[in-house]
Amino acid sequence: MTALADGGLARASCECTPSGVTRTTMELSRRELMRGAAGAVLTFTIAPGVTLLVGSGLAAAGLTPPPLNIRREDSLAAARPPGTAVSPKTRWGILIDLAKYADVGDAAVTACRNEHGWTGHGRPATDPQWIRNVTVRDPKTGASRVLPVFCQHCENPPCVDVCPTGASFRRADGIVLVDKHTCIGCRYCMMACPFGVRFFVHENVTGQKPHSPRGKGTVESCNLCVHRLDANKSPACVEATNRAKPGTMIFGDLNDPNSEIARAVGQHVVLRLRAELGLDQGVLYKGLTQ
């Protein structure tokens, strides 16, 4: 049972970091008060269900439930039951301009690897690749594009739906994460993800980064650099590609009509991979079919 207690608590600290709380509070206070009030009402309509589950999880571990005034996103990060609809204020997204991406080479991949410390063992079939470059080619015209493929942070993530323990979960701001403490390594999420962006840790790991815990026998994927977001920085791949070629990736809040990403999405034709599946990903591509 101690292990469970660890899991429940460590999730809040390692996946979301205490700074996530600060960020959330900031996010909420940034918004106009009226909408905040509406949000609070909404929060309270949903909170009982949420808190109940957080409470029961901790109770099972022999701990008292957290106080009721726990911040909504915090509690969701701690044990939000997948599938419960929360109306998030923030929806993080990335818009990738593929015309520009063609010129940045491996910048995104290298930045991600350095940031999170996932390394290969010279075994491509089992080495992790949180982000990878894929070339797609139209067999009729011969036109091709290179696109970075990584967790698309789906609004309706199949990896979350299928996870038996709820280890694969979606934070209220749209980031899809794996709780390393409750993942049992069944790999059903890997079967369910349409993009092959989940990775099973096939060997013992060394040299982990404290902000990006990994563990043999569990599943991992791009976490949208949640530790950087919580420190008000953009993801490492975004920073690196924009350094190589400005404007390659736009990161921001898709729900905020004044954000750069929301405005760009409103102006250009952007596509989601396999949009027919209706997953409503947060990662968008510009120039995929041109």
């Binding site: 039951p81 599938g83 080619r137 709820g166 409750t182 069944c186 092959g196 396999r274 027919e276």
Partner: protein, 403 residues
């Protein structure tokens, strides 16, 4: 000690003959090998297996799915006896229940030991995401144990016999839901063209009836021979004919599945792979599953030349088991080997994760773990026959106890 239920006398297997000990030794060795395989994969990590990011479920899952599905079908004879009132099958109902429990135990052991973190079984039992069909299956599997054990108890305890019919009906319904749930593990995978279809559920039901029944027939033949009990031709004839029908039903659903997919243009790629140019998968499908696993056994069962032969019945059942494993292999591995669509209509290159057919060669550890599950299941049956009054004293055609 022998126990009487109505007119049927049951008796434990008394002897400690060389044959019995050799069987226990062989099965025990399989179990040890399976545990060893699991230990290596857990300590080294799964890279020592043939599994990869593309083939995320490998041979252990083939074994686990096969055993779990067969567990449900192994209960056929008990259901026929208590639910459908077929008195002929009553003497074998206990064995049917024991085999079902044992196969399920073997399958679940493999499933758990292949987890990345089998030590977290307690997490799987305490944290549930009710939207996950996998989580539902955890309930269905553990529930099936309970249901089957209670049912077995009602069959074996004279005072409880009158409840064996309702318990049998409940167990029958439970196992239908269980196989539907197992099929849906695949059927609900919208991302993968090989799976995403509702026909997976009834197909798994039909497969379970066939594979479980085939194993049951083999166990009955082996148990009767091994314990020196008479076995009448009539019961063998009925059992094998039933197997023929279940195999035909399996073939029907397999045909529906592939014909439907062939009609859907975007699925022709995966169908061409499985049915025409998928190498080992194509062979396993046509030769392993369709020909040797279904058509040949059906011919052996119903053709006048072999219909009366007990050897032919045993061969038919053995082929059905091997063909069943081949089919599950094609479903589990073949379904993953074909690349997923990333951008419809576009060719994808650049990474082993996206392009081409995924390579897979089962490692010795995985095979050992799979066989370990078989060992667990059969060892349980072997022990049960020894310590519990499960086998009737005789299965001769005319019941000697008839008043």
């Amino acid at each position: 000690m022998s126990a009487m239920t109505g007119r049927i006398a049951y008796r434990e297997h008394g002897g400690w003959g060389v044959g019995y000990l050799a069987l226990v030794g062989l099965l025990g060795a399989l179990v040890v090998a399976g545990l060893g395989g699991a230990y290596v994969m857990e300590t080294e990590g799964h890279w020592v297996s043939g599994m990869s990011h593309r083939i995320v479920w490998g041979t252990p899952h083939v074994a686990a799915v096969f055993l779990i599905v067969a567990a449900s079908g192994a209960l056929n004879v008990a259901s026929l006896s208590s639910v459908f009132g077929r008195a002929l099958y009553q003497p074998l109902a206990r064995l049917s229940g024991v085999l079902a429990i044992s196969l399920l135990a073997g399958g679940l052991a493999v499933l758990v030991l292949d987890l990345g973190r089998p030590d977290r079984l307690i997490v799987a039992m305490t944290f549930y995401n009710f939207k996950s069909i996998f989580a539902w299956n955890i309930f269905l599997y553990t529930g099936f144990f309970a249901v089957a054990i209670v049912y077995l108890w009602m069959m074996m305890e004279n005072r409880m016999n009158r409840f064996s019919k309702p318990a049998g009906v409940f167990a029958f319904l439970w196992r239908l839901v269980l196989t539907t749930g197992t099929g849906s593990i695949f059927g609900f995978l919208v991302a993968r063209q090989a799976y995403d279809t509702a026909v997976m559920a009834p197909m798994f039901v039909a497969m379970s009836l066939a594979f479980g029944h085939a194993i049951f027939l083999l166990v009955v033949l082996a148990a009767a021979a091994g314990t020196g009990r008479p076995l009448g031709d009539e019961i063998v004839r009925r059992l094998k004919n039933l197997l023929g029908i279940f195999l035909a039903a399996t073939l029907y659903f397999v045909a529906v599945q592939h014909l439907t997919n062939l009609y859907i243009a975007e699925r022709r790629g995966i169908e061409r792979f499985l049915l025409a140019d998928g190498g080992v998968h194509t062979w396993l499908f046509w030769v392993g599953h369709v020909a040797l696993g279904c058509l040949v056994p059906i011919a052996l069962i119903f053709s006048p030349a072999t219909a009366g032969s007990r050897r032919a019945a045993a061969l038919a059942a053995a082929l059905a088991v091997l063909g069943g494993i081949a089919q599950i292999y094609v479903i589990v591995i073949g379904g993953q080997a074909y690349p997923m669509v990333l951008v419809p209509g576009m060719e994808v290159t650049g990474s082993v994760l996206d392009s081409g057919i995924a390579a897979y060669a089962p490692s010795v550890y995985e095979i050992a773990l799979g066989l370990g599950g078989v060992g667990i299941a059969l060892l349980m049956v072997t022990f049960a026959v020894k310590v519990l009054p499960i086998l009737p004293e005789t299965l001769a055609d005319a019941p000697p106890e008839k008043a």
